[in-house]
Symmetry: C2
Subunit: 255 residues, 2 copies
């Protein structure tokens, strides 16, 4: 089965720019979306309940902002949203589902790059997310997929030196990500591609960052032990996204 995660940077814009064709090409069984920036009622019926898919939307309260979703070819049940009972998750950043015994989450960590206040929000979110991950059931296979807005190592970012003080590549953010791996989560794409530079999953819209492949790898599919034992391969669809989003879709194939 194929699981794909994609920060679409506004689903309505993505649809205009060829989202459907790219999904038809990638053929995921499970599709984790981030930054949908839409509520279902703003979509045509055709997109709100697309033919051949089971879909769950988890939009933000605020219009045109953030939001995640899960699309699946097979039926699934919602396990939960947000990091705890106490977390209303009104920015629509975390949704977990159970599909064919596989626990799959679509997550969109806040960006901290716009202003210091947002970095505070990001770090609070990272803390809550860590607690939430720790509390996940350890028995069945599980996948954490989404835009974590953090590049892990110097292999995951083109301009490592220049970004040592940038949100998304701060030492303590990289360490936070490392802790997830230490806790038994596998970075599937890194596992697949080995110790090479890249491949990246996000490029700034400014300048010619994408064309020059000056990107960051901030979109991940993390697998726990049970899921990782079924891992076959990983793909970063670097061409697929070009016309659609500033992020590339990222996929894994599991047995």
């Amino acid at each position: 089965m194929r699981i794909t995660t994609w920060n679409v940077n506004g689903l309505r814009a993505a649809i205009r720019k060829g989202f459907a064709d790219q999904i038809a090409e990638i053929q995921p069984d499970l599709l984790l979306l981030q930054e949908i920036r839409v509520t279902p009622d703003q979509l045509d019926e055709e997109w709100r309940s697309p033919d051949g898919w089971h879909v769950h939307w988890h939009p933000a309260q605020r219009k045109g902002y953030s939001g995640t979703a899960v699309w699946s070819r097979l039926p699934f049940e919602i396990v939960g949203t947000g990091t705890s009972e106490a977390d209303p998750d009104d920015e629509g950043r975390l949704i977990s589902v159970l599909c064919e015994g596989l626990n799959v989450s679509s997550v969109y960590l806040p960006s901290g790059s716009s202003k210091p206040e947002r970095q505070i929000v990001k770090e609070a979110w990272m803390n809550r997310f860590r607690s939430w991950v720790t509390g996940l059931p350890t028995t069945g296979p599980a996948i954490l997929g989404g835009d974590l807005n953090i590049a892990h190592t110097e292999k995951d970012i083109f301009y490592a030196k220049a970004n040592e003080k940038s949100s998304g590549f701060l030492p303590h953010e990289r360490e936070w990500f490392g802790d997830l791996l230490k806790a038994g989560w596998h970075d599937t794409a890194r596992h697949h591609f080995g110790d090479v530079q890249g491949p990246y999953s996000w490029w700034s819209n400014r300048g010619r960052a994408r064309e020059l492949d000056r990107g960051w790898r901030i979109d991940y599919l993390l697998a726990n032990a049970a899921a990782h034992s079924r891992f076959r391969s990983a793909t970063i669809h670097r061409e697929a996204g070009i016309t659609v989003s500033d992020h590339a879709p990222v996929s894994i194939d599991l047995d």
Copy 2:
């Protein structure tokens, strides 16, 4: 000499869509602009001080909103802005210049169509404008050009019946316009085209209003007696504007 008035609906957008070509085509000696929606400092030097023109900008205080300008091939002096000493005209709606003995004004009356408060503002503006017109020197030739946001008669609007209660075609607005004519101002385009339906100078962006020519004539060049004695012809450049603004440029040729 040719005088042209044009509500450009955002000069920066107009420039992107071919403003320069249209002006080169029309070849005005005096160009009265409305709804420039820009301050000179937001323009490149090339547009702030265009080659071969004397230009005066009268922007609104508020960014991206309203504003008028006068462009002239020959030098001119500013006679004044706003309707009185007491009127700061901070929406940049009225500028008068003196060029070769001709008194020329570019005026942009408020629209009242968005909400009742704006209709109040429009009517206050109409009253001040009437006083201002009355106080103009009666000796030399004078032209009042611009977007008055009022269609005068049923010949000046496609859907007369449907718009009897619409701002821009209200009985007292039409009467206010009639009073200008009674005070000795000549509606040059109407004089030129005679008692026919149209030609219109503005079409809604909604539906296919322009294609179906369901428009309004709300852009005028009014001439006092001295100017009207020099009147030769009038043109509504119905094709020129199509790619640029929702208003067509309107011109007169004077001896």
